[in-house]
């Protein structure tokens, strides 16, 4: 009976059709309705590999590359492929021990799985690289991978060029997530200021990866890939040989030095003492060296040329003279009877280095012999100018002059974090003296003291203004950018604008002051600086400064300052030098400037000058109390570490060192006879666990 039960065939068909319908509905759900599956598939399979461009090269004024890239090699391992590797041989070849090998392999597996390559050793030394290359066939799973590293062929200009480091969270946020974890960014110096130009344009390669995260093929044959564009080069005004010489001269000294080409504002050399070898921060030991520099109390990472605040002292005097001349308060022949001290305010202060009559018979002499009374008097004349009726109005006018000279304002150099120095406001005096003050209160402003503070860069720039007879260009390093675009021009325009700030001061006034500065070298306080055949205009400065050690105010050696420009009629270089705690301006700062001028203008050093350079470079002028400070901060850190971790090993080290020190050579304040701390107290207080911390003066800021 073939028709028997035939109705059931329909039922079976319905069941089949229903099942297919359910599957279709599910397919509709998955494939037609909006879902994240496409995104998820892409996340699974597509890997955007960033191609890093080489950073731009920086050249000096003579076209020498002072910041370049070299290829360094990382040893990369794919753990799953290292089967049959002779581990002891491998380890002895690369001079690591087997325990470290195992640890690194385990780390690599943990980080990237055994199937994907991870960095085993960063930046191989040339020896390691050579050894590995020779035997690489024996070591399956290990390969060398290139990586560009910054290099400083002249080992110089660390503070100017800066350094790159891996971005931190702040950088990433600030850039709006442009940077990613593991990217490098210029942290200081030109590397930071010109980051956008130097970094180039990152490229992206889209790769397809498989289920084991191995990259298998280019996505869509590279249709969406973008190439990496190398960073553009910068041409600077720096003279690298001059820079090297300047760094040599400033070695073992605290302070700052700036040399500017007045006609362009281009910075020829800039040194902050102490400095460091920039290559120390790039190699495999970079992190370690960086930590060491950071913990050094002399602050080698700090750029004192733009951040060190110094009282200009007598180097300020030419500016005071120009103000008085411009305001018509004096003429170049104006004389002031100085008997060795200023008695205008009844205190007999300040004193004068020279007491002989006639050293302030006219402006030229007063500058040459650096008469304190004369310039204190000029300051009071300017501030108490009857034209302004009130000392406060007069002071503000004077302050305006200072700002025009570039003091107390940020100049806008192309380095990050420039300090603007300090020319105090009337409000700060009002607060300090409850509104009751006059020109006698702050009369030492006239000789660049009181609360006046300036950076070496500002002092050098002020010299440029005098050398140029009234105008300046913002001091800067970069002359031109390779393939400059419109956007770059807007970055560079501030440096190309001539600031005619004080051109209204008559040339006769400038000539009078410049003549005085010429006499400084010819007959005055800086005769040692004289170079036959070159007319140098200069001004020495010596500023007192104090610090507090163990709660006592201690007078340190004077800061040695020197500003100058040369040659007198066609100025090619203006220099400001400050050597902290070194003595008279003419003793250290002057000769340093002189050597640099000779080097820059004659391109060579005479035998005598070379010997002098050698002598100066060997002089160690870092004040001895820094040794004590280092000891204190290190031991306090050890104590903090102990408090945090209960690990006393660091403290023990200090205790041991302390006992050795007390029995053999204790850190002493050798120079300070009057204020030598009482030995008993010193011993007790310097016990690492009982140290009290004072307001430490690290960066040459004096008079707290």
């Amino acid at each position: 009976m073939p028709v028997y039960n035939q109705s059931r065939n329909r039922f079976i068909k319905i069941i089949i059709a229903l099942t297919f319908l359910i599957i279709t509905v599910q397919l509709f759900k998955l494939q037609i309705l909006p879902s994240r599956f496409q995104q998820m598939a892409r996340e699974n399979a597509i890997f955007a590999k960033i191609k890093y461009p080489e950073r731009g090269i920086i050249y000096d004024r003579n076209g020498k590359a002072i910041l370049n890239n070299i290829i360094s090699y990382d040893l990369v391992v794919t753990p799953s492929e290292t089967k049959g590797l002779n581990v002891p041989e491998f380890c002895s070849l690369l001079q690591i021990d087997t325990a470290e090998y195992n640890k690194k392999i385990a780390e690599a597996v943990f980080k990237n799985t055994a199937l994907r390559p991870s960095v085993f050793l960063e930046q191989l030394s040339p020896l390691q690289k050579a050894r590995f290359e020779e035997n690489s066939w024996k070591f399956p799973g290990f390969t060398l991978v290139e990586r560009p590293v910054r290099t400083f062929p002249y080992h110089a200009a660390a503070h100017i060029l800066g350094y790159v480091r891996e971005v931190d969270q702040k950088d990433i946020e600030r850039s709006g997530n442009f940077y990613r974890q593991g990217d490098y960014i210029g942290k200081t110096g030109l590397e930071a200021y010109y980051e956008k130009i130097l970094m180039g344009i990152r490229g992206v390669e889209y790769w397809i990866k498989d289920n084991k995260n191995r990259l298998v093929a280019h996505f869509e044959k590279g249709a969406y890939d973008t190439p990496a564009v190398a960073g553009r080069a910068l041409k600077t005004y720096l003279d690298i040989e001059l820079q090297q010489l300047a760094e040599k001269l400033m070695s073992n000294k605290l302070g700052g030095l700036v040399a500017i080409e007045p006609s362009t504002g281009g910075i020829l050399a800039m040194v902050s003492g102490p400095t460091y070898n920039p290559n120390d921060l790039t190699g495999a030991q970079g992190g370690k060296n960086f930590a060491r520099l950071q913990l050094d109390v002399t602050g080698p990472l700090l750029n004192r040329a733009i951040n060190g605040l110094y009282e200009p002292g007598s180097t300020f005097k030419p500016l005071g003279a120009l103000v008085a001349l411009d305001e018509g308060l004096i003429t170049p022949s104006y004389g002031y009877p100085c008997g060795g001290r200023y008695r205008g305010c009844g205190t007999g202060k300040p004193r004068c280095t020279h007491s002989g009559g006639g050293h302030s018979a006219n402006l030229r002499n007063a500058i040459a012999y650096s008469c304190n009374s004369y310039f204190t008097h000029l300051y009071r004349l300017a501030v108490d100018n009857p034209k302004y009726k009130n000392v406060k109005v007069g002071y503000m006018k004077w302050r305006e002059y200072m700002n025009l000279f570039g003091l107390g304002v940020r100049l806008g150099v192309d380095l990050p974090s420039e300090n603007k120095g300090n020319i105090p406001d009337t409000t700060s005096y009002n607060r300090q003296y409850k509104g009751e003050w006059n020109s006698c209160t702050n009369l030492t402003l006239g000789i660049g003291q009181d609360q006046m503070q300036a950076t070496p860069l500002q002092l050098a720039n002020a010299m440029c203004i005098i050398a140029n007879r009234g105008y300046y260009y913002t001091p800067h390093f970069v002359k031109s950018i390779e393939d400059e675009t419109m956007e770059d021009s807007s970055l560079m325009n501030p440096f190309r604008k001539k600031h005619e700030v004080l051109t209204h001061i008559p040339d006769s006034a400038y000539e009078a002051v410049i003549d005085g500065m010429y006499d400084v070298v010819r007959i005055g306080t800086a005769r040692v600086v004289n170079i036959p055949g070159i007319k140098i205009c200069a001004k020495t400065g010596t500023a007192e400064n104090y610090t507090i050690i163990h709660g006592r105010r201690v007078k340190l050696q004077n800061n040695s300052l020197f500003v100058c420009f040369a040659p007198k009629d066609t100025p090619k270089i203006a220099i400001a030098v400050c050597v902290q705690n070194a003595g008279y301006g003419a003793k250290w700062a002057g000769p340093i400037a002189k050597i640099l001028i000779e080097k820059y203008l004659t391109d060579t050093l005479r035998k005598k000058t070379a010997a002098e350079a050698e002598r100066i470079s060997k002089a160690k002028l870092i004040p001895p109390h820094y040794r004590l400070l280092q000891y204190q901060t290190d031991s306090v850190r050890a104590y903090e570490w102990f408090k945090m971790t209960k690990d006393s090993s660091h403290i023990k080290k200090f205790r041991r060192q302390y006992w050795q020190d007390t029995t053999t050579s204790e850190p002493k304040l050798e120079n300070e006879k009057n204020n030598k701390p009482n030995g008993k107290l010193y011993r007790k207080e310097s016990d690492p666990l009982h140290l009290t911390f004072c307001n430490l003066n690290l960066y040459g800021r004096s008079k707290t």
């Binding site: 065939n9 297919f20 599957i23 509709f28 699974n44 498989d210 289920n211």
Partner: protein
């Protein structure tokens, strides 16, 4: 006797045959898409027998050759050898126990030289034939329970053997033959009861015992409340309901735990629970602790498969990514994608439209087979055709169901499309025999 001229084209259902060729073509494309590596010479590797798609191609050629042989064979041959075939099939499955080779957790494969044979896979064919033979016997009265039991035995014996070979998925396939029996008059209530018991067992695995007991009691109470008037008149019905309730709770509370504790082996219980992605509550405490991590790994493994499979299919959208740009399947994100998860490749590469076309082809094929079945004068041919349709339907539904996340992951291939020689040959032979029988549909075969 007149000499019969062997004329293949006469009576052969070309429509069904073209669907078959289309499906195999789609399968070859999909396997090619999965295994092709950039830069391989396409033609060369197609004929080298090195790559999977090349192997599949040769299997297909072999299937065509065998198919040709079948079409040239007298259809009486199949009725005559059905029982013998069945016996040899069972024998082959028994031979697996001493001679199986260890392949990937299964114990169902015999290795002969370069080829792997899986008797459980091609035994379906013999079961279909034997079942048809039994049902078409003039002396079989399928309305009798005895015949029904014998038919069930024919079907379930290889299923039991498959379970012992740790091929639960293949064992389940044999249950699809109940569709044939249903068509031939197996009372519907047996199937319903079967489904109900199966559902109850699955439910007692998935739902905590007390909750399930409460649910069952709830259902019974609701039923009694709704039919309270009728129950008053008919006391017998009330007792039936109460008896059923007791039976259900009994099965759920006592029979299932008893089965798991005393009848089934530990690893089998483990597998069953694994299938549903559940903890095995019958394992010892210690063992539970020990296998905790392993289990978690396995569980996430299963769900990983399905998740990746869904991503693959879902990311295909309407038109698909194109066959060689399907990243999910080309770069091994979906495991087993040449064999059990081949549907992903189609879903990702050809999108919704491609999937629907494939589904449509399958639906056409199934309906065509059923239509053919109903055209047969011979009960043997009809039963056999239904057998083929049932097996294909089960495979298709479960396989595609698991790739789209509707069915549990059971390792059974997609007919004609999945990579695998045994599977392709078995299904092809089944289909060719059907074509051969259909060509002789006017004949009454016994």
């Amino acid at each position: 006797m007149a000499v019969q001229k062997p004329e293949i084209s006469k009576g052969t259902d070309w429509f069904l045959l073209s669907i078959y060729f289309l499906l195999v073509g789609i399968g070859l494309t999909a396997i090619f898409a999965v295994t092709y590596k950039e830069g391989d010479p396409v033609l060369q590797s197609f004929f080298r027998f090195k790559t999977d798609y090349s192997k599949q191609l040769y299997f297909f050629l072999a299937a065509c050759f065998i198919g040709l042989m079948i079409l040239l064979t007298d259809s009486k041959f199949f009725t005559a050898t059905a029982n013998l075939g069945y016996l040899s099939g069972i024998l082959a499955m028994l031979l697996v126990f001493p001679f199986h080779s260890k392949v990937k957790g299964t114990e169902s494969i015999i290795r002969l030289g370069a080829f792997n044979f899986q008797p459980a896979e091609f035994c379906k064919l013999f079961v279909a034939l034997a079942l048809a033979k039994y049902l078409s016997r003039p002396e079989t009265d399928f309305s009798k329970t005895r015949s029904q039991l014998i038919a069930s035995f024919i079907v379930l014996l290889p299923a039991a053997l498959s379970v012992l070979q740790k091929e639960t998925g293949l064992a389940l396939v044999y249950f699809s033959f109940f569709i044939v029996m249903y068509r031939e008059g197996l009372p519907a209530y047996i199937l319903i009861t079967g489904f109900a018991v199966a559902a109850l067992i699955v439910a007692s695995i998935l739902v905590p015992p007390n909750t399930l007991a409460l649910i069952l009691s709830g259902i019974a109470l609701v039923y009694i409340y709704v039919n309270r008037r009728r129950l008053k008149k008919k006391r017998g019905l009330l007792f039936t309901v109460l008896f059923l309730w007791l039976l259900c709770v009994g099965i759920q509370r006592f029979l299932v735990p008893y089965l798991f504790k005393h009848v089934l082996q530990k690893h089998q219980v483990e597998r069953i629970f694994e299938l549903f992605g559940k903890d095995n509550p019958y394992a010892d405490e210690k063992e539970n602790m020990k296998t905790e991590n392993l289990r978690k790994k396995k569980e996430s493994g299963t769900s990983y498969n399905v998740r990746q499979s869904k991503i693959a299919i879902g990311s295909g959208r309407i038109f698909g990514k194109g066959i060689l740009s399907a990243t999910q399947t080309r770069y091994d994100f979906v495991p087993e994608q040449r064999t059990d998860f081949i549907f992903c490749t189609i879903g990702e590469g050809f999108g919704f439209i491609g999937s629907i076309i494939l589904l449509g082809l399958y639906l056409l094929m199934l309906f065509r087979i059923i239509t053919i079945a109903e055209k047969q004068r011979s009960v043997f041919s009809r039963c056999y055709a239904y057998g083929v349709a049932s097996v294909l339907f089960f495979h298709i539904a479960i396989n595609i169901g698991m790739t789209v996340g509707l069915a549990p992951v059971i390792g059974i291939p997609l007919p004609f499309v999945s990579y695998g020689g045994t599977s392709l040959l078995t299904f092809s032979i089944m289909l060719f025999i059907l074509l051969r029988l259909d060509a002789d549909r006017q004949m009454i075969l016994r």
